[in-house]
């Protein structure tokens, strides 16, 4: 019997595919967001609200991941924004190869921003890099202040945490300060914005941050083109 040392990252195959996606996005000059959350936290609502605010200045394209149905891509297309639906059947997350397949038929040529809405799941998507620039997580505040500690991985690996549905805080018994403290402890480097897609409260903070990010990135892309 032979013992062979291997030392290979189990995520390597996905990582390689993510790297290929990255090249496609770079060629298109797109900034890419991997939008993640538990089911129903408000990913598509955030996307709709964000598109409404930035669509005049930036070209957006959307890739939707769901277990079943084209409901979410229909919602985005209804806003006049190109959208492609991936249905995973029973797979609880998007992986880089699924996104590669989508890119083959849905190249985001000329899009300043590509948003990939992941399958609603609070754990699994966090381990699968899709080739994104930014990981944005939506969390519905009514789910409880303890959740960042119970499900730390997605909070920890996100660049932005949007604490959505703050209009429901008065009915939920959740203390925003306690929730904020837990998010900061799990991820002290994240940009955190309490928002409501229903009332629009807090949206200007997130939109301002994103707009700044998109401008900085397109300037960087321009300067690398020139050099």
């Amino acid at each position: 019997m032979d013992r062979v040392s291997v030392v290979t990252d189990i995520r390597q195959a996905n990582q390689n595919a993510a790297h290929e996606n990255r090249k496609v996005f770079d060629k298109c000059g797109s900034c890419v967001i991997n939008l993640m959350s538990a089911p129903g936290a408000g990913k598509t609502s955030v996307l709709e609200a964000t598109i409404r605010e930035i669509a005049p200045s930036f070209k957006v394209a959307v890739i939707e991941g769901d277990l079943e149905t084209t409901f979410d891509s229909d919602r985005i297309r209804a806003m006049g924004v190109p959208a492609h639906q991936i249905t995973t059947g029973s797979v609880c997350h998007l992986d880089a190869r699924m996104v590669a397949k989508a890119l083959a038929v849905f190249p985001p040529d000329g899009a300043d921003l590509v948003v990939i809405e992941n399958v609603g799941n609070l754990v699994c998507p966090a381990e699968f890099n899709l080739g994104e620039d930014l990981r944005v997580m939506v969390f519905s505040v009514v789910e409880g202040a303890d959740k960042p500690k119970k499900y730390p991985l997605m909070f920890h690996t996100s660049d932005v945490v949007l604490l959505n549905k703050i209009d429901l805080l008065p009915y939920s018994g959740v203390a925003l300060s306690e929730l904020l403290r837990n998010v900061v402890e799990v991820n002290p480097r994240a940009a955190i914005f309490p928002i409501s897609c229903r009332t629009g409260e807090g949206m200007e903070g997130w939109i301002g941050w994103l707009t700044q990010e998109l401008k900085t990135r397109s300037r960087q892309a321009l300067s690398t083109l020139k050099t």
């Binding site: 032979d2 291997v6 189990i10 754990v123 402890e185 002290p188």
Partner: protein
């Protein structure tokens, strides 16, 4: 159940290794699994039982070594085993992760290839 796709990736890595070594079968797969990953050990063990069927590792054992979460402060060098609090208790700086995010096939054990003319005689 993303543990199934993790199990499949493990088996792909093992199968590729078995092929390069012209082995007949994989008998053991050793994996290092960090405590701060999206993978549940029991779920992975269960998924592995299903995914290994019909592969070169059909009767392989999966040995999982758990790796604890360890952190270090980039500013004051304090190390610890943070309870999912990534702020240095001494100086308030965001902590770096030393270990706990591993998801690695470390080694495999192979059974030698049966020599075809012996097998057929």
């Amino acid at each position: 159940m993303h543990e199934l796709s993790i199990a499949e990736s493990i088996l792909d890595i093992a199968a590729a290794e078995a092929a390069t070594h012209h082995a007949a079968a994989v008998t053991t797969i050793k994996v290092r699994l960090g405590n701060f990953t999206g993978v549940v050990r029991e779920a992975l063990e269960f998924a592995f039982e299903i995914a290994r069927q019909g592969t070169v590792a059909a009767s392989a054992t999966l040995e999982i070594e758990s790796v604890p979460l360890r952190t270090r402060c980039p500013s004051c060098d304090m190390t610890g085993s943070s309870d999912f609090c990534f702020i240095c208790e001494r100086c308030g700086t965001p902590l770096d992760i030393l270990s706990g995010r591993e998801m690695q096939v470390e080694s495999i054990e192979l059974a030698e290839e049966e020599v075809p003319w012996i097998a057929s005689r």
